[in-house]
């Protein structure tokens, strides 16, 4: 868009109003009030994610639509219509309900907003001279952020915020309606540079969205950032000041330094929050960083003025970056240090490829703790995360098939499918290189699991499991978390499991392995705890709180002759309350043969 139209002086105020209306609508309505309304109606679950996906998809679609439709001569009309569409969606949202209705509404909001942002950024040079663009955008951006932080606005209910947002965009539409644009010449950026900058903004939006989600989901961080009138007024001032300063710097050509400062502010805020230093200046640091890059993002697209550049910035960096950031935070419940550092390294390499030294400075930040969101039942939840990270599911299933007798007999009661599907993610697995773990908390004591995880083949000779000793030697408590998780599996089904165990008898036709085979089985699989002669003096015996008994002692010599079935039961299912684990998967003839061998040791 380098052609010059009739020059009439610029409309800085009108440009600022337009930017403020767009940002205000996005912040107050799309990002806050609409999603609050969805949370109220659908809760925090898949439904909310579906709605957010609809919003993002609509945003990308709207950006592409604006790119395709943009014509300089139609700019004012297009922009006005896009504002009206935004207002209409805000009104419609008040009546939306149900997953499908809310998802469609979200897609409509995204579509209108995507159309609006790309149209606005592509045409801002019709309102302001390029050398004053930054100032106008900074003023609009800062005003929008400040306005949203005014306590009475911030604390208004979703319906009130939707109404205020609709009013904002209607005001912009009315202001623009009769405006005669005059196009100003300005520089364009090379294609390679455009994509470099899109990458830079993608990293910043990704980082901001992830941090924002964590702050919003963590009550302590949320309160420290947005609680109390004085805090909100402070935020408003910081937003306005930072955005104005950013605009001023942008107009002086300090664009690279500006996004660098924005990254440092955001990263610093993340690190400080992660280190539980959430009070004082941390929230202001975050607010400042957000305002600076928000100004730069619009200023970059507007200064170039080509619709495809604006579409790339808003679709890729804006909408996709938001989705990636929120997805990252939802997946990990934290902003990993590595990610923050990688985003910074990306910025340095994209904008200052000759300044490798910047990477060294970034590396110095690696000691800081990441931001974390709250998790319910932390130890078990952490243990489940360890289970997933270590890939336990590749050898262990967690699914008892209800109609398969051997499954129920070996691994305990089947659980309802709905229970499995409540897991995020469900972990049914598809292989059994080792036992099923659905009810392992009923079948193995915590001390047995702890020992087995550290030295699997010492406890279960022949086990194909590698040692997880490293989980217990590291200071982060992953091993104990995993033990806690395993202990939690099968809660509520212990009674049912032991009922099955106590009524089990070896089938009449089972037979028994030979005495020689049974002795070999005992030596290989039992002697490490019970000792070669059953005296309870195996090398592992001392490792257990309740050591194995000495079968040669007086009390144990009285095992009645007819109790072979009872011994077989203990061998197959273990002994509750002790470290004696069952051998559920062994063949019946092996169990019976071993029971006879054990009886023989009671002498």
């Amino acid at each position: 868009m380098n052609e010059a139209g009739p020059t009439r002086g610029d409309n800085l105020g009108l440009a600022a109003l337009a930017v403020a209306a767009t940002y205000g609508y996005f912040l107050l309505f799309a990002e806050f009030s609409f999603l609050s309304q969805v949370r109220e109606l659908l809760g925090e679950g898949r439904g909310l994610r579906g709605v957010m996906a609809g919003l993002g998809a609509g945003g990308v679609g709207g950006s592409l639509l604006a790119w395709g439709r943009f014509r300089p001569e139609r700019f004012v009309r297009e922009l006005s219509w896009s504002y009206l569409a935004c207002a209409a969606m805000a009104v419609i949202s008040l009546a939306a309900s149900g997953l499908i209705g809310l998802t469609l509404t979200a897609a409509g909001i995204g579509l209108a907003l995507g159309w609006n942002t790309v149209t606005l950024a592509s045409g801002l040079r019709a309102l302001v001279r390029p050398e004053r663009l930054g100032w106008g955008i900074g003023l609009g951006t800062g005003a929008a952020y400040a306005f949203c932080n005014v306590p009475v606005i911030f604390t208004a209910g979703p319906a009130g915020q939707a109404g205020i947002s609709a009013g904002l965009v209607l005001a912009a539409a009315v202001g623009l309606w009769r405006m005669e644009p005059g196009w100003f010449r300005g520089p364009t950026v090379s294609r390679v540079s455009v994509w470099r900058w899109v990458g830079v903004f993608l990293a910043l939006v990704w980082l901001d969205s992830a941090a924002f989600y964590i702050i919003q989901q963590t009550s302590g961080l949320r309160e420290a950032t947005w609680a109390g009138e004085s805090r909100l007024w402070g935020n408003a001032m910081v937003h306005l000041g930072a955005a104005l300063l950013a605009g001023w710097c942008w107009d002086r050509g300090w664009s690279r330094g500006l996004v660098g400062v924005a990254w440092v502010a955001l990263a610093g805020a993340c690190f400080a929050l992660g280190a539980n230093r959430s009070g004082g200046g941390t929230g202001f640091l975050y607010a400042g960083g957000v305002s600076i890059y928000s100004t730069a993002l619009v200023a970059f697209a507007a200064r170039d003025g080509r619709p495809w550049v604006a579409a790339a910035v808003f679709a890729v960096a804006g909408w996709v970056g938001s989705a990636l950031g929120i997805g990252l935070a939802q997946d990990l419940h934290r902003v990993p240090v590595e990610f923050v550092l990688a985003s910074g390294a990306g910025l340095v390499l994209a904008l200052q490829p000759w300044r490798r030294s910047g990477l060294v400075a970034l590396a110095l930040l690696a000691w800081v703790r990441p931001v974390r969101a709250e998790e319910g039942d932390p130890l078990v939840a952490r243990g489940r995360a360890v289970y997933i990270a270590e890939g336990c599911m590749h050898c262990h299933s967690q699914y008892v098939r209800p109609g398969v007798k051997s499954d129920v007999e070996r691994w305990g009661p089947a659980h309802p499918l709905t229970e499995l599907l409540r897991g995020a993610p469900p972990l049914p697995g598809n292989r059994r290189q080792g036992p099923d773990l659905t009810n392992v908390g009923n079948r193995r004591s915590a001390e047995w699991n702890r020992l087995h995880l550290q030295a699997p083949r010492t406890v279960s000779p022949g086990s194909r499991m590698p040692s997880y000793r490293h989980l217990f030697t590291s200071a982060d408590g992953r091993g104990e978390a995993l033990v806690a998780y395993l202990a939690s599996l099968g809660e509520g089904t212990a009674g049912e499991h032991w009922e099955t165990a106590l009524t089990w008898r070896p089938p009449n036709q089972a037979g028994a392995v030979t005495a020689v085979q049974a002795a070999k089985l005992f030596a290989q699989n039992c002697a490490q705890c019970h000792g070669p002669q059953g005296r309870g003096d195996g090398p592992l015996a001392a490792r257990f709180l309740v050591p194995p008994p000495d079968w040669t002692s007086e009390a144990w010599r009285r095992v009645p002759d007819g109790d072979e079935a009872g011994l077989a039961r203990v061998i197959k299912f273990g002994s509750p309350g002790t470290a004696m684990a069952g051998h559920e998967a062994w063949a019946d003839d092996e169990i019976v043969g071993l029971a006879r061998h054990v009886k023989m040791l009671h002498k």
Partner: protein, 408 residues
């Protein structure tokens, strides 16, 4: 064939085979780790479970997917464009970079915990991003060529292109921990409808492949598309959601695939494949026959209970990916001029794959009754796992031979 097209095919072949070789190397490591678990102790914390996603995902998104990317590039790119090779390299490089980053993340323990959908956390968006990059290249070339295309050609190319645009967001969404497909409540595995849908997807892809590869049709084949639409209609009419394999509708619906055992080869024979493609075609049909028949049989009540959670299903997965998909992908790359023409490597692979599938299926058949022996690493189970490792070595050697051929 145009020089640029040959260059792109060679680059795509190298990318594909690098990932095949890498995934096979990880597979060998896994097979060895099962035989000698002490190996896992030596490399802790990079234990068995950390390596598994690399093997699975590099096979699926690397070796199984990249030859299809090569076919897409062949079909869509304008070979007259002076930047075409660079852009193809960009698309393939982005894809490989995504796989590499995924591997790093999985080894670090960053995984969604969902089989074949392990992309998680900071890597969740990398493969979708690579897909968007590929799509942008395909779309730019289609746009550039739009003037030279008739209305029907625009439709034939445009509709799949629009469809492809849905893949990155779908992948991104499906890797989320909150999303999980329907589960057969009686097996804990896939439902009949899901198995039918995924296999019909493969049939549809196989139906498009001859066109994408520019093969000339020698006889009419409209019946194929009629049968395909009818099959999809039957799929649509099936019960979806968490349905048991004991429900007759699921068994009958999945049994529909048996009709495709002869139909697919008959359809492909209506195109003019080069004379030296014959062995790959025959291999593909042999594995296709085995896959469909055993796939349906293992779904049946009684057999499913016996094989689920055992090495029998691992055998079935190898049959599908190392058998059928490898044969078809090799045919694709070979047709495009990417090589894979060495006879010894061909037989080494087929033999290795057949031995591996046979051994694992045999072990799976008795595994439920002898699980204790498997858990205790009894000698006979070690022998079978040793045989599997040897077969894997043969397959890895074959992939190394193909890679060597591709680098000439």
């Amino acid at each position: 064939m145009n020089t640029a097209r040959i260059t792109i095919a060679q680059v795509a072949t190298r990318h594909s085979l690098i990932w095949l070789a890498a995934a096979n190397a990880v597979g060998l490591w896994l097979a060895a780790s099962l035989l000698w678990p002490e190996l896992g102790d030596l490399v802790a914390p990079l234990t068995y479970g950390r390596w598994m996603p690399l093997h699975l995902n590099w096979q699926l998104y690397g070796w199984c997917a990249l030859p299809l990317v090569a076919a897409l590039l062949h079909w869509y790119l304008d070979a007259a464009d002076p930047r075409v090779v660079t852009q193809a390299r960009f698309a393939l490089g982005g894809w490989s970079l995504a796989l590499l980053l995924g591997g790093v993340a999985w080894l670090a323990g960053d995984t969604s915990g969902k089989l074949f959908l392990d992309w998680h956390g900071w890597t969740r968006g990398v493969l979708p991003a690579a897909m968007v990059g590929l799509w942008a290249v395909l779309a730019a070339h289609t746009w550039r060529r739009r003037g030279s295309m008739g209305r029907s050609e625009r439709l034939v190319r445009g509709i799949p292109l629009v469809g492809l645009l849905a893949v990155p967001p779908l992948l991104y969404v499906s890797t989320g921990r909150d999303y999980y497909p329907a589960v057969n409540p009686d097996s804990g595995g896939a439902t009949g409808a899901a198995l039918l849908g995924s296999t019909l997807g493969i049939v549809t892809l196989f139906g498009l492949l001859p066109f994408m590869l520019g093969r000339r049709r020698t006889k009419p084949a409209g019946w194929f598309w009629v049968a395909l639409v009818a099959s999809w209609g039957m799929f649509a009419g099936m019960r979806h959601g968490s349905v048991s394999h004991h429900v007759p509708g699921q068994i009958i619906g999945l049994g529909l695939l048996l009709a495709w055992v002869p139909l697919l080869p008959l359809y492909w024979r209506r195109f003019d494949w080069s004379a030296d493609s014959g062995r790959w075609l025959w291999a593909a049909w042999a594995w296709w026959l085995l896959l469909v028949v055993t796939g349906w049989l293992t779904f049946l009540p009684g057999i499913s209970e016996r094989l689920k959670f055992t090495n029998g299903l691992v055998a079935h997965a190898h049959l599908a990916m190392a058998g059928l998909v490898t044969a078809v992908n090799a045919l694709v790359l070979h047709t495009l001029g990417g090589g894979l023409s060495r006879r010894p490597a061909f037989w080494l692979w087929q033999l290795g794959c057949a031995v591996q599938v046979g051994l694992l299926l045999a072990l799976g058949w008795v595994e439920n009754a002898t699980a204790g022996a498997l858990f205790r690493s009894e000698a006979w189970t070690q022998a079978i796992y040793g045989g599997r490792l040897a077969a894997g070595l043969a397959m890895a050697a074959a992939s190394a031979l193909w890679l060597k051929e591709a680098w000439r």
